[in-house]
Symmetry: C2
Amino acid sequence: MQAENTTLNSFDPHVSVDCVILGYDGESLKVLLSRQGEEDPNSQYNSLKLPGRLLYADEDLDDAANDILNQLTGSQNHYVRQFRAFGSPTRTNNPKDVLWLENAIKQKIGRIVTIAYLSLVRINNRTHRTFAGHDAAWYKVSELPELAFDHSTIIREVLKELEMLSVQQPHLIFEMLPPKFTALQLRRVHEQICGHELDVRNFSKFIMNKPYIVPLDEWEQNVSHRAARFYKFQVGKVKL
Amino acid sequence: MQAENTTLNSFDPHVSVDCVILGYDGESLKVLLSRQGEEDPNSQYNSLKLPGRLLYADEDLDDAANDILNQLTGSQNHYVRQFRAFGSPTRTNNPKDVLWLENAIKQKIGRIVTIAYLSLVRINNRTHRTFAGHDAAWYKVSELPELAFDHSTIIREVLKELEMLSVQQPHLIFEMLPPKFTALQLRRVHEQICGHELDVRNFSKFIMNKPYIVPLDEWEQNVSHRAARFYKFQVGKVKL
């Protein structure tokens, strides 16, 4: 291309990294969101957003994503990968978002290109404790409130990708599941990824046909309904 | 995250879009490269690079990639998708690259985050003619010269991705092949993607097992070796 042509129209957008951190608490598929401001109905900006920040001068994109994740979860052992860059000029259409960011970074903001990362984590008590210091919390993906910037779109696109990945790289789903899970839990997480109910009988066949989903000789305890069997994910049995 | 923390270290990198345009001429897998300057051994910058440019103020990332592709190939009907963002601080380590870009855009350059796109095209006479106006040409991926910025790394990463995609989404390979192709041509393109030779007998079995690779009642004409059969790719027969 003629780099000379770019003089007229090119410009310097800000670059940020945002993380779509998904987890499953045994019932609901959830995404970790942080708050732009105090939870106050009179606040000029109080939307929820994906955890993220502007890129620092000395770090690579992956470093920024890992730093955000580590700060939030206190652990470096999560599945994380770059998902996609989002750079539409309409990302900053909401003046509240721009005002929030300009006040936060004390700079004028024109456009922001963000590199979105996808991370899958297990929800447990330890991660809950760490989030508190960052004003972050889990929200059900099926009942998301209004989000800042284009973060709703980013989450929707991530879920579409995860639906495809759950077929092509089925082991990824187990990054979010507890070490022992029931068939119902596994079905529910798949249903919430694809956004619709799955046929119970077909799903039972699906489980039986997968050598990496191994039935255990353990059943639920102290439940009012019929106790369900536990399964585990067996690494090495999945065909990558 | 605490957006307040970013004041100290955040900065405004440039954002560019670069396209890895791959094609197959019946023998070699090739990538389209453009030249930073005149082909002159005394030039201060004469490296080859991926076609690309800085993002314009009013366009989305996909728009920029499509614009680059359309200008080069004169066609809007190519497979193209966002591949990955590259943003290492070391991308601009070579002073020749920085000098070239600063002279081209008449601005100081610090860091550049680039969004790389992957496109698969058929190499034919029409595309050849259009390239000439852009000082762009096809180069064999197996014999790449030194490239500007981290463009060699980007191409290597794209080939790794394409190797994975050729299993998960096999129809993509046929975007580069002529409408009729021989088994040898199909094997060669797979070999050049994965970077090593494939077993001939296993590959023949692979072809026979795929309902979307359909043998034709046509054979090569006027060849000195034994005439090979032609195959075609049948849309709708591939399980997506």
